[in-house]
């Protein structure tokens, strides 16, 4: 070895050492040398703890020197927390975002553009279309679809049997069987045939959509609110009639405690997500004895024999643009959304997986919820939609309608105007 060659070797070795010392910021392939702490924000109730633990174990096997800190956030105040975190210099590396929130943060430049990395994730070719759409803005991909949820009606088989009714096939039939249930339980002052809290806007949308109404439509780059259109109002009138006759739920309350109330036994039906079955049967918060009494059917359409379109909720996983561990963040997301853990999300977590290739994993009561996702709709895909949610426009409107503080015409006109303003970028 001549002197020159030795020098080159020495320099190469030195470079390797320096690169290794830089740890996770360097893009080398030796994953075991990566160090650092990866902060992950997941939402309350998304992945069961066992899946989070298993994901971390698999991740640790590949990156033994990286610490993963998973922090669980609450839906009620997460936007405030996210705003604050993104504003700072150290936001979490990975965060779960409700699919209605992504557009806002992507437009503000808070999320990393991962268009080029798409094929590195399992099943990216068969991701659920509406979740992929929620991650896409201006042709670029800003997040990875995580899971979806769609609502159906969970009911008590024993109550239905004793009242002599069967799952309805139209909105009229829903009202009819509900009234029979109310009569059968007339001695219980707390009984609701359909428990419907006043602020539950996710469950109100199917009624609006079923009559051909919508929240807002876009034409020529301008949004206009359409809740004040006759078709939307027709849906809300039908819903108001059902709620006033079948529900004793708090007309100003939200759906947060509906599973606990259902488990207490004074409720025959709730409009709920598939995973709420688990909450109802939970030994601590619910009542495991109801296991064999639970059934589910899709929200019926006003046209007998069809089902109403439901809101497709769900979550995506994004990476902060300011993250110092972007490659680690990507690797962690790939582990959680990979074939192994995604299948567990469906079978253990009871949610709809992020890929159409796994839609056959729904079993038993879950099949109803999986099928409901096939006839689903989404809120206006606008960066300003999150502000409509934060401003409580829909819950406020519903409360005014259900409590009869305002008639449907007045309430929908006010809400529709506010939505038009906010979606077009005004406060």
């Amino acid at each position: 070895m001549n002197l020159r060659k030795r020098w080159v070797t020495l320099v190469a070795v030195a470079f390797t050492l320096v690169a290794a010392a830089c740890g996770s910021t360097a893009s080398n392939n030796n994953s075991s040398s990566q160090t650092g702490t990866l902060t992950v924000w997941l939402m309350n109730g998304s992945a069961p703890q066992s899946i989070v633990d298993a994901t971390n174990t698999d991740f640790k096997a590949k990156y033994p020197n990286v610490t993963v800190k998973v922090e669980i956030q609450q839906w009620s105040d997460v936007t405030t927390k996210l705003d604050t975190a993104f504003q700072g210099s150290n936001p979490p590396d990975v965060m779960e975002l409700g699919n209605t929130l992504v557009a806002k943060y992507a437009a503000a430049g808070a999320l990393l553009d991962i268009t080029g990395k798409k094929t590195g994730f399992d099943n990216s070719a068969t991701w659920l279309q509406s979740l992929t759409d929620s991650c896409t803005q201006g042709g670029k991909l800003y997040c990875v679809p995580y899971y979806a949820g769609s609502r159906a009606i969970i009911y008590r088989k024993d109550f239905f049997a004793s009242a002599g009714v069967a799952p309805p096939d139209s909105m009229d039939a829903l009202l009819t069987i509900g009234q029979k249930l109310m009569t059968a339980h007339a001695s219980d002052p707390n009984f609701s045939a359909l428990y419907f809290p006043g602020k539950y806007w996710y469950a109100a949308l199917p009624f609006v959509w079923d009559f051909g109404g919508d929240i807002a439509t876009q034409s020529g780059g301008k949004w206009s609110g359409t809740l004040d259109q006759p078709s939307s109002q027709q849906g809300l009138t039908t819903l108001q009639n059902i709620v006033s006759k079948l529900s004793r739920a708090d007309k100003t309350g939200d759906e947060a405690k509906q599973d606990a109330v259902f488990a207490q036994g004074h409720v025959a039906m709730i409009i709920a997500n598939g995973w709420e079955v688990g909450v109802i049967l939970d030994p601590k918060a619910g009542n495991p004895a109801l296991k064999d009494q639970l059934g589910a059917f899709p929200i019926p359409s006003h046209n007998a024999g069809s089902t109403a379109p439901v809101f497709l909720g769900g979550s995506d996983l994004g990476i902060s643009a300011k993250s110092k561990h972007q490659d680690l963040a990507q690797a962690w997301i790939a582990t959680l959304t990979g074939n192994k853990h995604m299948a567990e999300m469906a079978t253990v977590g009871g949610v709809i997986p992020n890929t159409t290739s796994m839609l056959n994993l729904g079993t038993g009561i879950n099949t109803t919820f999986y099928n409901a996702a096939k006839n689903s709709k989404f809120v206006p895909n606008s960066q300003n939609w999150a502000s409509v949610e934060s401003a409580n426009v829909l819950p406020d409107m519903l409360v005014k309608i259900f409590t009869k503080q305002q008639d449907i015409q007045t309430a929908t006109t006010a809400a529709s105007n506010r939505i038009t303003t906010i979606l077009n970028g005004g406060g």
Binding site: Q87, A108, G109, N190, G253, S387, S390, I422
Partner: protein, 316 residues
């Protein structure tokens, strides 16, 4: 120039005069410098930032990039044109007036009662007051929330048991007027201890011989309070009214927590409205402008208080 022609033996005298000047003129400023620095740090700087942001379009993108877009008085124009803002202002003022009047009225009555009762009773009442005062707001609001709960509330149960009507599944927040009455009760309940104890302390300072003299002159109980006690307590009333106004006008916790952090626009106070615009709709510029208006209203109240205090001092 005097300094140029100064002879050496004049120098010490000059230096002494200079030192005296420094001590008399600058020393006081040096003394208050630390306080001024602290006040500037914790009050003036954030307030300045608030005003600065209120003059900009400051959405999420601007927040992340730490760079707003100058819009002058645009945010203020937008707010003043918003009918909701007028409603909120009117509601906040009415709410503040009701709360302050009830707080001061009830507290004064309790304080007067405390003068009359036996020592043991006084200790019990005082302890109860201090207990209310010492309980954190979040905890008390949670308790009130249980009491007024729609499904399992004690209040609904009690009113029904007392045959005052059917209150099963009565929703206290359906009707905003009823809902606001509940909030007045909660806020007044929380404010009474401080005001009562302050007024009671003031009552102890009213000289007994003045009251005796008034009685000898034939003044009744109301007249003694109206013409002897009340004028002597004026500075105390002034400060509790002023402080209560500031607190009640900016009320936030009670309403925000009790309504599960999602109050409908019927329950917006000016503070909640500002918070919603900032953190809810991510319009930090608008939110800041509302907060500035809130500060301005409170400055007017405070100026009134300061003027009255100065006047009192001049009379004394």
């Amino acid at each position: 120039m005097g300094l140029a022609i100064a002879t050496p033996d004049q120098r010490p005298a000059l230096f002494l005069r200079f030192a005296q000047l420094v001590r008399r003129r600058l020393f006081p400023y040096a003394l208050i410098t630390p306080s001024v620095a602290v006040i500037a740090g914790i009050l003036a700087f954030p307030l300045g930032m608030l005003v600065w942001i209120s003059l900009q379009h400051y959405g999420l993108r601007e927040l992340i990039q730490h760079q707003g877009e100058w819009v002058g008085l645009g945010n203020y124009q937008a707010i003043l044109a918003d009918p909701l803002f007028r409603q909120v202002i009117f509601r906040s003022l009415a709410f503040t007036f009701a709360c302050v009047a009830l707080t001061v009225g009830l507290s004064t009555l309790i304080a007067l009662l405390l003068l009359k009762v036996r020592r043991a009773v006084r200790v019990i009442v005082m302890s109860a007051l201090v207990f209310v005062w010492a309980t954190p707001v979040v905890v008390t609001v949670d308790i009130w929330q249980w009491m007024f709960d729609y499904e399992f509330g004690v209040i609904n149960y009690l009113l029904t048991q007392l045959h005052l009507g059917n209150f099963i599944h009565h929703n206290w927040f359906d009707n905003p007027l009823q809902g606001w009455t509940v909030f007045v009760v909660i806020v007044v309940w929380g404010a009474i201890p401080f005001v009562t104890i302050t007024v009671y302390a003031g009552l102890l300072q009213v000289p007994g011989e003045l009251l005796d003299a008034a009685q000898v002159d034939g003044a009744g109980g109301w007249q003694r309070f109206r013409f002897v006690t009340a004028p002597m307590l004026k500075p105390i009333f002034l400060i509790v009214i002023c402080l209560s106004t500031i607190w009640d006008f900016g009320v936030f916790n009670q309403i925000y927590i009790l309504l599960n952090q999602r109050p409908s626009s019927d329950y917006y106070t000016i503070a909640i409205y500002s918070y919603r615009e900032s953190f809810g709709v991510t319009q930090y510029g608008l939110g800041a402008a509302i907060a500035v208006l809130l500060v301005l209203v409170l400055i007017v109240v405070t100026l009134f208080y300061v003027r009255e205090t100065v006047r009192q001092a001049e009379i004394a």
